[in-house]
């Protein structure tokens, strides 16, 4: 159990990298820092994928530690839903929006707003997991 706190540390690093870099790209699409060529921001994608991979691994480890705690909590599925939408948007934006820079169609901006919302949603629901837990273990309430 000594490893548990350090898995949480890695999960927080990955969150900052993945959600934070996505927010930076979304802000750029929404018109902040127009001097940054979107195509050059593709270089940050490996950083975001690195954040995603370390969080997938640390997340699975946290889930294995307390499977009942997460799986009996609807907030957990909300968090996973937000992450799936966020990752799909992240890939969509790179394929569809980056090549059309600087003449981005309006729907790309809507996607950037949606991306900001789902990443904030993933963070908030992740944090609330600790407070909305019903069962810690199958036969043990929180």
């Amino acid at each position: 159990m000594f490893a548990f706190p350090f898995i949480l540390v890695v999960h927080a690093w990955g969150m900052g990298l993945l959600a934070g870099s996505n927010a930076a790209i979304d802000l750029r699409i929404l018109g902040v820092a127009r001097g940054v060529p979107l195509s050059a921001m593709a270089r940050f994608y490996p950083v975001m994928w690195f954040g995603f991979v370390i969080n997938a691994i640390s997340g699975v480890l946290l889930l294995v530690g307390y499977p009942t705690k997460a799986l009996t909590n609807p907030v957990f599925y909300l968090k996973i839903g937000c992450i799936v939408v966020g990752m799909v948007l992240m890939s969509w934006v790179r394929r569809r929006a980056f090549p059309r820079d600087p003449n981005l169609p309006g729907n790309v901006r809507a996607m950037a707003v949606l991306s900001l919302l789902v990443w904030a949603g993933a963070i908030v629901s992740g944090r609330l997991l600790a407070y909305t837990c019903k069962f810690l273990l199958v036969d043990m309430k929180c």
Partner: protein, 173 residues
């Protein structure tokens, strides 16, 4: 003497209006959520700027990327405010916590580092166009900044596991 006045301060903070608000049902989780959003904003702006200083995404002009920094500062201010809420509501849990001491130390180093950056390197760095490398001192500053913020996050996450009085090994606490 110092110890007694620290205890006195902790007691006074605990009895304050803000502390009783924070101890409501949802105030603490909401403040924590905002604290994590602020953290991500800081990482996604200052962190990417540091990575550019270190040589990643060289096609991006640094002056243009710097336009994102105000959002990182916004995240930092949000985290200072929510952080003060936590500190007020459970002062003794932080004052005698080694993880909190290291967190403050990491932020202090990051603070000196950022002052060094703006007083010495910013003028040079902002003129760098696409494809140009930052000079070595600016790269070092970028590396120190990234290390400090990762350390701040790690210490923050470890805070709960080093709450007093469980940790007697901490000789300075």
């Amino acid at each position: 003497m110092l110890d007694e006045s620290l205890r006195e301060l902790a007691r006074w903070l605990r009895g304050s209006e803000l502390a009783s608000i924070m101890n409501g049902a949802w105030e603490w989780p909401i403040a924590e959520s905002l604290h994590f959003i602020g953290l991500s904003l800081l990482m996604g702006t200052v962190g990417l700027f540091d990575l550019r200083l270190l040589g990643l995404g060289r096609r991006i002009p640094l002056s243009a990327l710097h336009r994102l920094i105000p959002f990182g500062i916004g995240g930092f201010v949000l985290n200072m405010l929510t952080g003060i809420c936590f500190l007020t509501a459970a002062a003794d849990q932080y004052m005698y916590n080694p993880a909190f001491h290291l967190k403050i130390l990491s932020m202090a180093v990051a603070g000196v580092n950022v002052m060094l950056f703006y007083t010495t390197m910013f003028k040079t760095v902002r003129t760098l166009g696409p494809g140009e490398n930052a000079p070595l001192p600016a790269r070092i500053i970028g590396g120190v900044s990234l290390t400090c913020w990762l350390s701040v996050i790690a210490c923050g996450r470890l805070l709960t596991f080093y709450r007093p009085p469980a940790f007697h090994w901490c000789f300075w606490c």
